[in-house]
Amino acid sequence: MKIPDRMVIVNVGARIFYDTAISQKADAVHVNWRPTIKLEKDLEAILRRIGG
């Protein structure tokens, strides 16, 4: 397997690692991640019906 030449980074989680990437002039973006919600089954079904 080939080790990537270009380091184009997406950072998910703690911002400090995004800052590290940027301070090295790497191409990076940051995702302010939040856990996905496990909804009650019926709420999930309703949302799917009405476009939530």
Binding site: R34, I37, L43, L47, R49, I50, G52
Partner: protein, 423 residues
């Protein structure tokens, strides 16, 4: 005829509801006595902030405010009499919201209290709100000692007539004081218009003072001006009433899933949805996370209280936090946190406001139109910057912080929505 699916129907309804909110034009048009101008206000009725609640379920601060109101009305001589009267069931307690009114914290309005009258130029809708008493001990925090009662008297007998005169002059001059331009400007000056109103209050003074000094006796003018000037939150109540107008403009659009009221009474949080009628959907009111004044801590705090989350409902307050980094600092945050708060509102809102914009975000409009579907899909509920009251009546404000609304009311609203529309 081609029929459209429910999802499109909801999209159209939501655009209509939020469009109406955005285009509403509330104006301050006068001062009057509560029982005379507020629709449905009976002689032995007291209005309060938040969704409906019985006396026995009320929190300490709200009870204190109500006792103070009873004494202010002269229905009783002392606290124990007041409690007996209340427990006898003679007094009706109703949400301000149910009577086109709003008030911060306890939000207590009693029949003889002076209120501001706001009118929506677009559709003649009205909204009402009480006068802000100022910092320190206040009825809205449940205090009702001699100092508070004296000030309430003064507001009724001195301040109200002065402001009434001033506003009558302004109304005959130019129809009223347009509140939206003031709010829009205040946003550009660092207010988010819920917990920071310094700019708004200053701008309001600029509207009032020319008339104040020309038609009112000098001493009275100084007294009135000083009172407003000492209170950086004087404009808050007017913002709330303006927001109430805007929110009500978007209420009652069939199929809309947009929130048209969020309010707390110190025990419960309640919300209303445009397409689901006037029913309140409730959940327990949380205690804000924040910084406390010296000597106080979380264990002293009262659960969240007040109609002031009507601001978050129409693209102000938490939704506009990016415009006001300074108050985030006050609760231990930084500029990035302020920006993040507005960005999270974007995730749960339909549109961006056309008139309320944030310089720091390239003058992007604030997120407006909280969609209950998006709240439930993302699990993100609205958050607000708010004052924290002591749980015991009479003590007052003990800190400030960020409150995160519970998800329960949104779930209840959705269930009712599908029941009503048989989806």
């Amino acid at each position: 005829m081609k029929s459209i699916g429910i999802i499109d129907q909801i999209a159209i309804a939501n655009m209509e509801a939020v469009g109406k909110m955005i285009n509403s034009e509330p104006e301050l048009v006068g001062v009057d006595t509560a029982v005379k101008c507020i629709p449905g206000f009976k002689s032995k009725m007291i209005l309060h902030a938040g969704p409906p609640i019985e006396w026995q379920d009320m929190c300490g601060a709200l009870k204190g405010a109500i006792i103070g109101a009873v004494l202010h009305e002269g229905w009783c001589e002392n606290t124990s009499e007041a409690e007996r009267l209340i427990e006898s069931g003679e007094i009706d307690f109703e949400p301000c919201h149910n009577h086109s009114a709003v008030g911060p914290m306890a939000g207590v309005i009693s029949p003889s209290m002076p209120v501001f009258v706001i009118k929506d130029k677009k559709d003649n809708r009205h909204a009402f709100t009480n006068f802000n008493e100022g910092l320190g001990k206040a009825l809205r925090f449940g205090a009702f000692d001699r100092e508070v009662m004296t000030k309430l008297e003064w507001m009724k007998s001195k301040l109200a007539p002065i402001l009434k005169e001033v506003l009558n002059t302004i109304v005959s001059d130019k129809g009223g004081i347009a509140l939206k331009p003031i709010i829009a400007q205040a946003l550009q000056m660092g207010d988010e218009c819920h917990n920071r109103n310094l700019a708004g209050t200053s701008l309001l003074l600029r509207e009032l003072i020319p008339v104040l000094i020309s038609i009112v006796d000098k001493d009275d003018a100084v007294e009135c001006y000083s009172f407003i000037n000492c209170n950086n939150h004087f404009f808050l109540n007017l913002v709330l009433a303006a927001c109430k107008c805007m929110a009500d403009a978007g209420h009652g659009v069939a199929y809309s899933t947009v929130v048209t009221a969020i309010a707390r009474n110190g025990t419960n949080v309640g919300l209303r949805v445009s397409g689901v009628g006037d029913e309140w959907f409730t959940g327990p009111a949380p205690i804000p996370e924040g910084l406390y004044f010296p000597g106080f801590s979380k264990k002293d705090a009262n659960p969240d209280m007040g109609d002031s989350t009507i601001t978050e409902t129409v693209g102000l307050g938490g939704a506009a936090m990016a415009a006001s980094p300074s108050i985030v600092k006050f609760v231990g945050g930084n500029t990035q946190d302020a920006l993040e708060m507005t960005k999270t509102y974007k995730l749960i809102s339909i549109l961006q406001h056309r008139h309320f914009t944030i310089p720091y975000m390239d003058f992007e409009g604030t997120p407006i139109g909280i969609d209950i579907r998006k709240v439930l899909r993302t699990g993100i509920t609205p958050r607000a910057n708010t004052g924290i009251a002591h749980k015991c009546p009479g003590v007052g404000q003990i800190g400030a912080g960020i409150v995160t609304l519970p998800i329960e009311p949104f779930e209840k609203a959705l269930y009712e929505y599908v029941r009503k529309y048989e989806i």
